[in-house]
Symmetry: C2
Subunit: 760 residues, 2 copies
Amino acid sequence: MRGIILSLLLVVAGASHYCQSAVAEERLSDYIRPLVGTHGEGNTYPGPSAPFGMLQLSPDTERDLWETASGYEYSDTSIMGFSLTHLSGTGIPDLGDFLFMPQIGEPKLTAGAKDDPDAGYRSRYSHDQESAAAGYYQVKLLDSGINVELTAGERAGMMRFTFPASEQASIMTDLQHFLRGNRFKLIWSHVRVEDPATVTGYHLINGWGKERYLYFAARYSRPFDSHRIMSDGNEVRYDSYKNYRFRSRNEAAGTNLQFLAEYKTHADEVITVKVAVSAVSAANALKNLDAGAPGWDFDAMREATRKAWDEELSRIQIEGDAAEKETFYTALYHCFLAPNLYADVTGEYRGLDSNIHQADGFQNYAVFSLWDTYRATHPLFALIQAERDGDMIESMLAHFDQSVDHLLPMWSLQGNETWCMIGYHAVPVIVDGYLKGVRRFDAERAYEAVKTTAMNPDYDGVATYDKLGWVPCDQENESVSKTLEYAYDDYCIAQMAKALGKDDDYAYFMRRANSYKNLFDPSVGLMRGKDAEGDWRTPFDAHEYVHLGDFTEGTSWQYTWYVPQDVPGLIALMGGNEAFCEKLDSLFSFGENDSEGLDDIQGRIGEYWHGNEPSHHIIYLYCYAGQPWKAQETLRRILRTQYGNQPHSLTGNDDCGQMSAWYLFTALGFYPVCPGSDEYIIGSPAVSEATVRLSNGKELTITAENQSDENVYVQSVRVNGKPWNSVHLPHKEIANGGTIEFTMGPTPNKAWGVAKKNAS
Amino acid sequence: MRGIILSLLLVVAGASHYCQSAVAEERLSDYIRPLVGTHGEGNTYPGPSAPFGMLQLSPDTERDLWETASGYEYSDTSIMGFSLTHLSGTGIPDLGDFLFMPQIGEPKLTAGAKDDPDAGYRSRYSHDQESAAAGYYQVKLLDSGINVELTAGERAGMMRFTFPASEQASIMTDLQHFLRGNRFKLIWSHVRVEDPATVTGYHLINGWGKERYLYFAARYSRPFDSHRIMSDGNEVRYDSYKNYRFRSRNEAAGTNLQFLAEYKTHADEVITVKVAVSAVSAANALKNLDAGAPGWDFDAMREATRKAWDEELSRIQIEGDAAEKETFYTALYHCFLAPNLYADVTGEYRGLDSNIHQADGFQNYAVFSLWDTYRATHPLFALIQAERDGDMIESMLAHFDQSVDHLLPMWSLQGNETWCMIGYHAVPVIVDGYLKGVRRFDAERAYEAVKTTAMNPDYDGVATYDKLGWVPCDQENESVSKTLEYAYDDYCIAQMAKALGKDDDYAYFMRRANSYKNLFDPSVGLMRGKDAEGDWRTPFDAHEYVHLGDFTEGTSWQYTWYVPQDVPGLIALMGGNEAFCEKLDSLFSFGENDSEGLDDIQGRIGEYWHGNEPSHHIIYLYCYAGQPWKAQETLRRILRTQYGNQPHSLTGNDDCGQMSAWYLFTALGFYPVCPGSDEYIIGSPAVSEATVRLSNGKELTITAENQSDENVYVQSVRVNGKPWNSVHLPHKEIANGGTIEFTMGPTPNKAWGVAKKNAS
């Protein structure tokens, strides 16, 4: 009976929701399109998550393909089930912990294949019977007729299953499921039936991180009619005559475990499952669950999360049509999915040293895709999410304290360091945050961590770089990219040293920041590998894109532009503004690069590859060289062609929000080309009006008169009422709010923006 | 230099120790012979442990043989190394966690074989250059010339290695080492170099317990000259040109890890390693280490542990010659090795539910070999170690609280239930303790646990037993043994119910306690399997010893005597005292039982097998049937022939002290045939005088006039000055101390001890 009533309420609530949003006041959360980026390279997931939430319930269509890193590919036609955690936009799979799948009939224990879903618990589904919104995902499983709804709060989630009448309905939890990309291994798992309506368990994953523990807890809205634990396909139970020793039906450990909650259901019976995770213990997962979902009201949790999204999105209010708002707010949504809360309601979390720590005085976050997010995501946080950015920096400093190598995080994943990508880009996050007023952390402690990281004698050729002035290509892979990125990071350290009055350190790191000059080969006009003897890499192919070459996911033609800390210096090396701009022009006009392994970088315009981060700052370089109008046109073209409100709209991995943060800054008309410096570079706003609520509560209002898809060229700018004729916009000009007034037009105003500094 | 000085001190200290003990006052710890039981079936270990200590450093000669369950077999001629934890006297291997082995030359990473120790890190050794004492073990590794000394405190231990001069000396820690008996699996391990003189790590073992986590910490008296982590034989390090991503030299996870601390040593250089373990975390292992071994004084730790043993052993003071004292105090030592402290200095421990718990108000213990130790070990604790026994009962109640099946421990091992053996013998431990005044735990809570365990609907045929009155042999293996042991356990519950005024429960469990009668087949005069229809097992072989038969590690001839709760009832079933004693006589005169799998039960006299527990109470049954003199002679024969002060002296697995506790009670002249009742049965004292300091501080003095190896027959007894002519000795007679005065003689006094109760 309860099931029927709940189910009726659901229909009413669902219907009223959609009516409401059409007639009532605008809710920014309604512009969120979670399916954006799920088709192709975006690698986002469609399921619900609270802002920066601890868990991300979402359907998985794939587990073994490297390229379906979020578990869901829009073009797949069957769903394996619904797991509790997901990475947003990464290029490497992981998480996808603990798959829940409702079934009818004798439960299947393996997923089956995409081309034969009937062989396993997979079910066909249709996008026509699927919906995704802020804090909500729904899909009808066509093979069983079960309707599935998911919602998620900060530390707990709910799954609402509406069953047909069945003598044999079940909800399976597959503990060995995670997004393994066919390379990673489940080491161990454990499941425990705490009582006839509660299950806990954990698994230990040797995946992207070498050793990741995750526990879960699940409470069911009605006690199981019966339950089974399956291990390697066999029921775990004591057979009183066959077994030598007693065996509990209520717990098991192993590497291939499924739990089956079994029911007889009547038509439209609703069974709700509350879930939570913890990296610490099953007990903490239960605490997270009970604190995060004390009741059984699915719709209330959904509404609470939707409200949380309304509030988070309200940090930027824009004018625009529905499609523009959907694109913009979905980008903001994607920026606010990661890093993820990684601490239990008790404050405990599993640290990098595998010990359980208490986060005292801060919220602990995990999943730092720093090689991506230092560029625009964290600068966005510094601008409008400073409190969380402070927590994130505290989390990174805790990571440093727990690091046996005394290193800040590189690409950290739930108590693990993956060592993914290069550089030490926690540095620009910390320095940029510090210089822009992000507080909470102790500056001297942070500086110590930043400097110690940059001085590590073992890490990735840093010691040789320090000694020679470059990472030698005969001793270290990706040597040019490493040199260039170290030099930028070192520039950041120098800025913090200066701010803290450490003059010697400032000089030392500014010397290192100039190291980029050592790899610029004037004979080819490009950055080029150099060996320990000082000889250039020979033969040299400026378009070579190769694994373990001198460049990281790119070519010399792309990395040559990577001097954000000293663009004038780079311009000088290239022979001045004209030569620089001509070279930039040619980047966009090269033909197709047919290197192997390039399939997963899309958004390619010549050799400008917007689908990956090394290109993200490049268009803005026109602004430094007296031709900002070229940037304006190109930026607006990228916004139009490589973003949108459709599943296929993202041309590259969203990378925990970096692709989206690029969109947001660029659409607002400025971009942090060099985080750690005090300036943004003005581009071309794609919104006609925006109000940005800064972290300190002050408002920055951006207006763009005559803004349209044709009027992409900046005619003039006023900042805080002052005429502004420079592309350089110091953070301090807007730090306390204010106004930026653009006037746009259909043709370049070549006189605007060529000044080195604002004249007035 | 420090090394040399330490080494000189060692020689002096070592010499003075032995001189001292010869001339100074008697120290009971000097009678401890840790090697007793290491040759053959005893399965004890020779290394140091504090009383009931958390770790047991000891040499391992074997890892893969099931029968070398403690890791050390005296007849082996090479040592693999020294691991941190060991089980005392069990029949199944496990523990042996984390092997440390000092080496000279290029370190070997695998042990090599016994017949080819040079193939690995094994070293030859000689018993001539080996010594073992309370809290101390020493051996010279003949292949390397390294002298090894071990000591252990309550939660930390020390290893002192004296090296020859070497350009390449090392101390290896093999993380994949544990006592696997060729059946168990290491699931995962992790090692971490915390600083250049500190290492931590853990491993996860799927062994006797399905999921056992143990962490360790080690601090070295001088920083490594260099260090290496080896994984699958390869050094873990970042090769800057070959590796795609950075790899730390300082930590690794995997299934085959070794850590190498590397040194150049001068002649006689001493390097000391402090070690500790934790089931909770590496951080806690370090806390245990630093709290348990704050300094570097090996000899001080050894002396502290020796003193702790002096104090523990002083609970019983006996008269006797050196050999007698060595046998007696080594037995007492073995009784006080287990259960083991299983909580960190913080009070935290990993519970049966895998969660981390805080032991509030009690010390948590693990390793409960209850099928063995309920018989005499825990009754001994109730008598002279009540405070610890109370802690142990609290630990068992915590286990119950954490049990998903709501069961008290059966055979629990460090946060695991092994389900080893049968019955629910936590019950007699709790009831016997409760009735004998062991306190700390709440009686109602304990009763609830006891009763709930006995009413479990799933466990080992208990539900059918409750319904039918026996465990049917067509539905459950070991059905006769289970029925008999359940009946005894139920008798115990009834006694506690009575004490708590639960009359209905008393009647209910007393009915179950009579279930033994249902399996006595008068046509054969023996206990016999019965199926669910009530038909006897046919064919029936009274001497059959078979795996998964009707009996547990025994035959009908042995289990027929298992009615400790109602010996008069059994006597009546057998036709009275004469027939009963004749049948008992025949037990000792049967020829060799040549059943398969019997090799590991020794101490066989006919079908009385003293090497295993089902026989332990049998001799005392003569006392109930009017022929106590037969018991007296036989008991003394067993004491003389199956115990002693030599490595081969134990004829059966010591089973966490049960074999030894049998010795102690029997040597003192009485034995708890039926724990949970209020009485002991008087046998024949083998000591001429003993003073037992009871748990309440009162003293019980036992004297045996004319006691000798010939004068084994009790002539008369006085208890607290009163003439005592019964074999029955109520606990309350001695609970507040007092005297038992035996007069012994060379021939039976058949008039003594035949009264049902003491007449006076």
